[in-house]
Structures are given as C-alpha cells and as structure tokens.
Amino acid sequence: MRRMKILLAAPVVLGSAGCVQVSAPEKPIEINLNINIRQEVVVRLQQDVRDLIKENPGVF
C-alpha cells in the first residue's frame, strides 16, 4: 500500500515539476537585433514589403 501511494504521488510531483509558468510578458516579442541581414535579401523583398504596408494600413 505504501508503494502504491508513492506510485500515485509520482505523477503529481512530476506534473507540478513540468508545469511551465506562462505569464503575459511586458514585451511579448523581444527586440532581437543581433541578426545578420543581407542587403541583397532586403532588395529582393522590398517590393513585397511595400505592397504589404500599403494593403494593411492599420498594422503598419
């Protein structure tokens, strides 16, 4: 019986250990500017991005 109690308790302990605290962060999307942007990629995407901005005035 004691063993059973331990077995029953195990998932509870494991469950709470695996629980990840999710709280709304101050800034959900962190600024990450350590990326290497290549100019050729920017030039290639430029027209698409201009259209995107024009078509979604509220978002941009």
Partner: protein
C-alpha cells in the same frame, strides 16, 4: 409591443451594430499610426512596434495586438519568398523608417537606443536597408 415598435427597435439595433463596426474598423485603420503619434510607442529595426517608456496597459495591449498581426504577415511573406521571418521583418522596418515615422516620433535602430526623429532629416538607416 406593436409591430411598428418592434420594427423601429430592430432598425435601431441594426444601425447601432453598423455604427459600432464602422467605428471599430476606422480605429483599426490607423492603429499603428495613432500609436506612433502618441509618443509612447515607436518603430523598431526588428520590424515591430516597441514601448518607448512604461506605457499603460491599454497601450501595451494595442502594441501586442499590432505586433501579433505583423508577425503573421511576416511569417506568411517569408514562406512565400523563401526568406527568414527576421529578414522580412527587418526589410519592413527599413521601409517604415523611410515612410511612416514622422517628425517627433520615436524609432529604435539596431543599437537599441530610442531616438526621436527631428523634423527635417530622414532617419539614418542601417546599411542593409540599401
């Protein structure tokens, strides 16, 4: 309730719904422009809006809402063009720095410092902006 009254009531509710939707739509139309104009929010080189200082909860919520939408558009375009999400986002930032950040509004370059755009001069763009 007479039939006529019901009709008037229904018309009123209908009109209210239409007005409400239009107002919500109009507000959404320039959400990011209004946020930038408030001075509490600025454009970042990573392609997202950022809080310049500590902003009240409603402002934070609006920024989050806009940024979630941006992220979705970036993801979509990146998949379409075989580019990285960050590349699409950074390209968009270049364009927003050029065209959307007005005099007195805030921007944040890759050095992470918030600056206020002064009237006459354009924002000094990162070299990759081309």
């Amino acid at each position: 309730m007479s039939r006529r009254m019901k009709l008037i009531l229904a018309a009123g509710i209908g009109l209210g719904a239409i007005l409400g939707t239009t107002t919500a739509f109009a507000m959404m139309q320039d959400a990011s422009a209004e946020l930038r104009a408030s001075g509490q929010v600025g454009e970042q080189a990573d392609g997202y809006l950022g809080l310049v200082g500590s902003a009240p909860a409603p402002v934070r919520a609006q920024v989050d809402s806009v940024n979630i939408k941006r992220r979705a558009y970036y993801t979509d375009l990146a998949a379409k063009r075989g580019a990285k999400i960050e590349e699409v986002a950074a390209t968009t930032a270049c364009e927003l720095f050029r065209t959307k950040v007005g005099a007195g509004q805030y921007y944040r370059l890759p050095d992470g410092v918030w600056r206020q755009r002064d009237g006459g001069t354009p924002i000094p763009l990162p070299s990759y902006c081309g």
